[in-house]
Amino acid sequence: MRAGRRALRTEADLRSAYAEHGGELYGFALRSLEDRELAEEVVQETFLRAWRAGSRFDPEIGSLRTWLFAIARNVVIDQARARARVAPVERAEFPGEPDAVERALVAWQVEEALRRLAPDHRRVLVETYYRGRPYAEVAAELGIPEGTVKSRVYYALRSLRLALEEMGWTDEG
């Protein structure tokens, strides 16, 4: 029944788990719900549920981070549904639907991975991809050869993949 040590048993466990993952969980919740109060509520509720279910956490199956995100995803869905009951929101998509939460999670992960890139790498991706600017223009603005812009784009994508993998993302997911 109780396999090994319970997760998040002590206050110190909770503190370190929060220090490690609290900010990320908040970022994901905010990305899904677009509401700072609700996002903070999600973080509190996530840690509470995690503490309650601490004996079910199995480090053999996955990381604490993955487990917390799985809980947070459910809390986000609950929060969005509760909010929709109180005040129906006019939105293109209903954020309480699992698919919408899933999309928000992917969006947040990609944005977080982009934030973790070296500034030079992030810059070329933003300029050439998101702003759709020509390589020559970006190269001139940055005072570097076009070939360097191109290789920075390459290394930016490679780093992005690494950052996503560090966050537990997989090709299958």
Binding site: E11, R15, Q44, F47, A107, V110, E111, T128, Y129
Partner: protein, 215 residues
Amino acid sequence: MRDEACRRWRPSLGAYVLGQLGEDERIAVQAHLDACSGCRAEAAELGTVARLLPSADPSRIERAPAPRPDLADRVLDRVGQARRERTRGWLPRAAATAAAVLAFAAGLFLGLRGDDAGERVTFGVAPAGVTAEGRVRDLAWGTEIEIRVAGLEAGERYAVWLEEPGGDRVPAGTFRAVSGREITVTLAAGLPRGSAVALGVSDEEGATVLLASLV
């Protein structure tokens, strides 16, 4: 030389998967990929990442949103509150204290009788329609627990545990409720009687169904 070709074309693979290459260079890269499985695999990996890019909103990546600094304390407060409630059961604070006092008095009374069968415990928390009584016995290897119960949901599996002062639970085992009659289950937990503050029974969802104070 393949290596030389790789050195030449690899740095273009990012622009290639993003569709940013001019026609001539795209064709040249494509020709190299047709010949080189290493670069083909690399392009496939980058392509997966490139397909994720549209989901991000570039206006959000400049800085990470942060919660208010006191959120850490509020997280700890909430868990601390739940920890205290768990120790007390579902009852409001005052009622829980009263129940604890009663249970203590009952335990003291029975304890004075020096019964070898252990001390009787009363479940201060029990759902309507459920009757239960328990007995705990301090032994060298831990605590023996006997529970007589009727009225629990038949077929459902229940877990029995002892709670330590910090809120941790030491499992004593599980039993399955039977319909229409009282059952007696005997279990054990590897915790000295003196280190247990409560005896509890929870359902498969983890919700506490029966709770007896042991202090």
